[in-house]
């Protein structure tokens, strides 16, 4: 009997294969019910896994390394040590597990997939069985990335997600879909091949320095080894740049973001939701999983200034680009660039507040931007336009949608009481204290981004939903069905996302507690690095010391409670 974890990963894929093999000509009706059933089942299983995870006893801080998965499933994939006396003694494994960070991202994935099935309900009529099969296979890939703790398995799932998304964008997308799908695919593939090279060289370098390590591909073992015997700073620098390349494209950080708006605009709504909601998180998760625990020196001395600069430029640049857009979907796409910038700022603050803020921001962005894309898709279905200058006063026609839009925008802007606030605040607060003064500049730029974010999103709300009623001309004439407000299905798609935005805004503490041990374990690495590093300034280590004493993440989490 496979464990619940394995069931959770492969249930959607099995459903997809069944859908394709048993009933390839399935009508849209049947296909979407199967898909809904499969995603809901996966969601329930993921809660079962979460219950299993929470029931586990707490691991003491001394017993764990920087990465400590639980509910572990290890099976040998390729054991080279058995092949002969001269073959390399390394082992590849199917190594699945969960820690707090990945559990929260898995839950996000399973929720967002249900919403994306629901928003495609009537929009997808052509080749529906294949569409839902792609969606389900994508879900397997995404959950797989978060659950794999073998470097190669991680990379396998990471790359595998490209294939279903390529088809989702390319077959069911907008007018430029073929170009968008190709650009997205090749751009991310090129980046991740460099990452693969970097990961291979990380493993090779580590193994050559520590010949006793027989499972160098296992992330926890590798991280433990590297925590005890760190690599030299120059080696770390090269490896950092190589491994970060693919993740930078995926996040996307500022100069590598050009594939994102195109892919978002052309993708079908469900594709956009999953792309923004989860796929971009693969990049940030990769940074958190592969770079932060493995290469502390490089993260501190290269990553902090480099990624900090890219992220803060991305925040400002993305916000200005969003401001100038007329197409709402493109606007939301650029806002993703900005929001992911906050996330990266948080992660590379390299302290507890920052990293927990970064993780929180990943979840928040998934929820709020996912919901924004759902809403954009819903009114595109009604009015067949996304142009801001053709819309106005929608709230009088569609009051429920107006409420949803206002609420989501507030969540995305970071209004206190909603989730965006907690995440952004923690990220900026973490960054403010990091990096010997440069963090202040980055977080100041980030704070400007918050203001800009309010500007462009409230601009959309004001222009499209309030003000004089102004609707596309062709929809006034007779022969069109009257345009109705959100129906029960659409409410069902949005409600969980909006509800979670509110809950996470009011009570972030359970989530922070969930990810806390893992975040602390990573941040502890930087405590050590700073203490032992002669280059670090005195006040930095003092600051860090204070932050460990005060346990600010707990305090900050409770501050925002009303």
């Amino acid at each position: 009997m496979p464990s619940l974890l394995v069931i959770m990963i492969f249930l959607p894929a099995i459903a997809a294969v069944a859908l394709l093999l048993l009933d390839p000509q399935a009508t849209a009706v049947r296909a979407r019910w199967v898909a809904l059933l499969a995603t809901v089942a996966t969601f329930l299983v993921s809660w079962g896994v979460a219950a299993q995870f929470l029931a586990l006893p707490q691991v003491s801080e001394t017993a764990r390394g920087p990465v400590h998965p639980q509910l572990v499933q290890r099976h040998t994939w390729l054991d080279l040590s058995q092949a002969g006396p001269h073959s390399p003694g390394v082992k590849l494994e199917f190594f699945l597990g969960l820690d707090g960070i990945s559990l929260s991202l898995v839950l996000l994935t399973t929720i967002l997939t249900i919403s994306s099935v629901l928003v495609s309900w009537t929009a997808i009529k052509d080749r529906a069985a294949q569409f839902y099969a792609c969606l389900l296979i994508l879900e397997t890939g995404l959950i797989g990335v978060f659950c794999s703790f073998d470097i190669l398995l991680f990379y396998v799932f990471f790359e595998f997600t490209l294939i279903p998304l390529f088809f989702l964008v390319g077959i069911w997308g907008g007018p430029l879909r073929r170009y968008a799908a190709g650009k997205f695919f090749v751009y991310t593939l090129a980046g991740s091949l460099i990452t693969l090279l970097g990961l291979v060289s990380l493993v090779v370098t580590t193994v050559q320095a520590n010949p006793g390590l027989t499972t160098p591909f296992s992330i926890p073992d590798l991280a433990n080894t590297l925590a005890e015997h760190p690599l030299t700073p120059t080696v770390q620098f090269t490896l950092f740049l190589m491994i970060a390349a693919g993740f930078m494209v995926k996040v996307p950080l500022f100069p590598f973001h050009t594939w994102l708006p195109l892919a978002h605009v052309e993708a079908p709504t469900a594709g956009s939701v999953l792309l923004a909601g989860v796929l971009l998180k693969l990049g940030t998760y990769g940074f958190l999983r592969m770079l932060l625990p493995m290469l502390p020196d490089a993260c501190l001395h290269t990553g902090l200034p480099l990624i900090g600069a890219m992220a803060s430029i991305g925040i400002i640049y993305g916000s200005f680009c969003a401001l100038s857009q007329n197409d709402i979907k493109k606007l939301v796409a650029y806002s993703s660039v900005a929001h992911l910038g906050f996330c990266m700022l948080g992660l590379f603050a390299l302290n507890i507040e920052g990293i927990s803020g970064g993780v929180l921001q990943m979840i928040n962005h998934g929820l709020s931007t996912g919901a924004l894309f759902c809403i954009v898709g819903m009114f595109y279905e009604r009015y067949h336009t996304r142009q801001l200058n053709e819309l106005g006063g929608l709230a009088t026609k569609l009051p429920l949608m107006g409420v949803a839009m206002v609420f989501t925008s507030f969540a995305s802007i970071g209004l206190p009481g909603l989730n965006g606030f907690v995440g952004e605040f923690l990220c900026l607060a973490g960054m403010f204290r990091a990096g010997d003064g440069q963090g202040v500049i980055f977080s100041a730029l980030g704070a400007m981004g918050v203001v800009l974010g309010a500007w462009y999103l409230l601009g959309v709300v004001q222009h499209a939903f309030f003000g004089p009623v102004h609707l596309p001309a062709e929809h006034h004439g007779p022969g069109h069905e009257p345009i109705a407000d959100l129906n029960a299905r659409e409410v069902a798609a949005l409600a969980p996302l909006l509800g979670l935005c509110l809950i996470l805004g009011l009570f972030p503490q359970p989530l922070l507690d969930l990810i806390r041990p893992d975040v602390e374990a990573v941040a502890k690495l930087y405590g050590n690095v700073r203490a032992t590093n002669p280059n670090a300034f005195m006040h930095a280590s003092l600051n860090n010391h204070a932050s460990q004493k005060n346990l600010p993440s707990v305090a900050l989490g409770s501050e925002v409670r009303p």
Binding site: P88, Q130, V156, L162, I171, V186, L193, V204, V207
Partner: protein, 520 residues
């Protein structure tokens, strides 16, 4: 005299599977003319019998292969070591797939000869792997190339096929002469044609200056065998031949000559298990490695960049096969450097590096599965009146024949090196091998090889994706369903290749363990 007979008997037992195959070839060549009348007509359905007979011969040869495990090396003309054993398994397996691909490609009257040629080619590849002598190696290389001419021409004797055959024939004979020239100098430098003897002479050499004869021989051998590998700049015949030749022959050319070339290079350049590798400038390695380095880089870039520009699917696959030859050359070079370095007692070899030769042999098997699978789908998806030539012929295949499109997409993703297919693991092994070798002091150029490999993998993905895009993202141009035929043998072959492509991803140890025993 008795000793000589004894030695011949022993030698025969070393090449028993090839003897079975060649006996089948003789049988088919003798029997076939009696079943065709004066006007060149044969009973309908005769080709099925010849196909079954070929499969039977391959099965018999496989039984013999399985019964004859590797034995210790002798100084005789043939050798049966782990490499021979592995390559035999590879050729016999993929030979069966090629027989299935070729099943309906030749008409009833000429099916017998073309099947016999295919078997002879396979026997030739096995003999290359088994030969321990320059004479045997040359004869085996010719046993691969001479039947190939017939195999290219027999199924369709129209003008493009004739032109393809002509081009292949001329360049093949040219390359044979070049290889032969290299062999003659190698013999001159060492005084023996026995490969073990040659390597022994290398390690016994006291003269520590580079030998001009050996250097010339190395260049000539690499150039001549480069034709078989389709290494740039000896690749230019490949696209034309692929375009003109029958599909099954193109499938054979994309894979079988590569095994032949790589195994011949391995036999010539790297001493087999247990033998001492000489560490002096007298050997071929110092001259071969820089040459092969540049050839590999040129091969990868030219193959991928030219493939990007193609609109004919066969030409595209030809350039793709060129680029894959480049990837495999990376493995060969790294492996040669690794072996060479191992011989140097002063150098420390990392215990945990993957051998480049192992990576290359793994990639060879994986490449066979994915490329033959691609051609199998092209044969199976063809219409009765027209084979698949341009992108338009594949347009909208996912609508008209979704299962075929899915199969082809899996093979193409594997060629592009995406998980979860064996192509990914193959490229990963090459990366791993090249990078481990590159970390050695003074050998950083291999790191660049790994980087170039990564760049080319990304370039390659673009054109494979283009084909997938044509199949899935475009509407069919001609929607008529009635003229499709069910090509059962090709479908079986595609299924086998699919099992290989996916199976080797999940259970790579199944192939990797025998490979690891090849290289000490």
């Amino acid at each position: 005299m008795n000793a000589a007979i004894q030695q011949l008997n022993n030698a025969f037992s070393l090449i028993a599977p090839e003897a079975v195959l060649l006996a089948a070839v003789c049988l088919i060549f003798f029997a076939a003319p009696f079943l065709v009348n004066e006007r060149g007509e044969a009973p309908v359905g005769l080709r099925h019998r010849w196909g079954c007979l070929s499969l039977l011969a391959l099965l018999l040869a496989s039984c013999v292969w399985w019964q004859s495990p590797p034995v210790t090396r002798t100084l005789g003309p043939f050798v049966l070591d782990e490499l021979t054993w592995y390559i035999r398994g590879l050729t016999l397996t993929f030979g069966a797939i090629l027989v299935l691909l070729h099943w309906n490609q030749a008409d009833d009257a000429r099916s017998a000869e073309s099947h016999a040629c295919l078997l002879a080619i396979l026997a030739g590849v096995n003999l290359i792997a088994a030969s321990n002598d320059l004479v045997g190696l040359f004869v085996a290389l010719e046993l691969v190339s001479i039947p190939t001419y017939l195999f290219l021409l027999l199924p369709r004797r129209d003008a493009p096929a004739q032109e393809a055959t002509l081009k292949y024939f001329l360049l093949s004979i040219f390359s044979s002469a070049i290889v032969l020239f290299g062999m003659s100098y190698l013999y001159g430098a060492t005084g023996t044609t026995n490969l073990s003897g040659i390597h022994a002479a290398f390690s016994a050499a006291s003269d520590h200056r580079a030998n001009p004869l050996v250097a010339v021989a190395t260049v000539m051998l690499i150039a001549g065998l480069g034709f078989r590998l389709t290494a740039v700049p000896f690749h230019f015949y490949a696209p034309d031949v692929f375009q003109g030749a029958p599909t099954s022959a193109a499938a054979m050319l994309s894979f079988v000559p590569k095994i032949a070339g790589f195994v011949a290079l391995l036999r010539l350049m790297v001493p087999a298990t247990g033998a001492e590798q000489a560490m002096n400038p007298w050997t071929m390695t110092p001259a071969a490695i820089p040459l092969l380095w540049w050839l590999a880089v040129a091969t990868m870039f030219v193959g991928n960049l030219m493939a990007l520009m193609q609109t004919d699917i066969r030409r595209l696959l030809a350039y793709s096969s060129v680029s894959h030859a480049g990837y495999m050359m990376v493995g060969l070079i790294v492996g040669m450097a690794h072996e060479h370095q191992k011989a140097d007692v002063l150098a420390t070899v990392s215990p945990n590096s993957v051998s480049g030769i192992g990576a290359m042999l793994f990639y060879l098997a994986v490449y066979g599965a994915m490329t033959l699978g691609t051609f199998a789908v092209l044969i199976a998806a063809a219409r009765t009146d027209k084979r698949i030539e341009s992108f338009d012929d594949l347009s909208g295949l996912s609508r008209t024949r979704p299962a075929m499109a899915l199969l082809l997409a899996i093979f193409l993703f594997s060629l592009a090196g995406l998980p979860p297919t064996a192509g990914f693991l193959g490229k990963l092994n090459l990366f791993f091998a090249a990078w481990s070798q590159g970390t050695v002091e003074g050998q950083e150029s291999y790191k660049w090889l790994a980087v170039i490999l990564a760049i080319n993998a990304a370039l390659g993905a673009w054109y494979y994706l283009k084909i997938i895009g044509v199949m899935f993202l475009r509407e069919p141009i001609n929607r008529s369903q009635q003229d499709t035929v069910i090509e059962t043998p090709s479908l079986i072959a595609a299924g086998l290749c699919l099992v290989g492509t996916l199976g080797l991803f999940f259970l790579p140890g199944w192939l990797w363990v025998p490979i690891q025993s090849i290289m000490p």
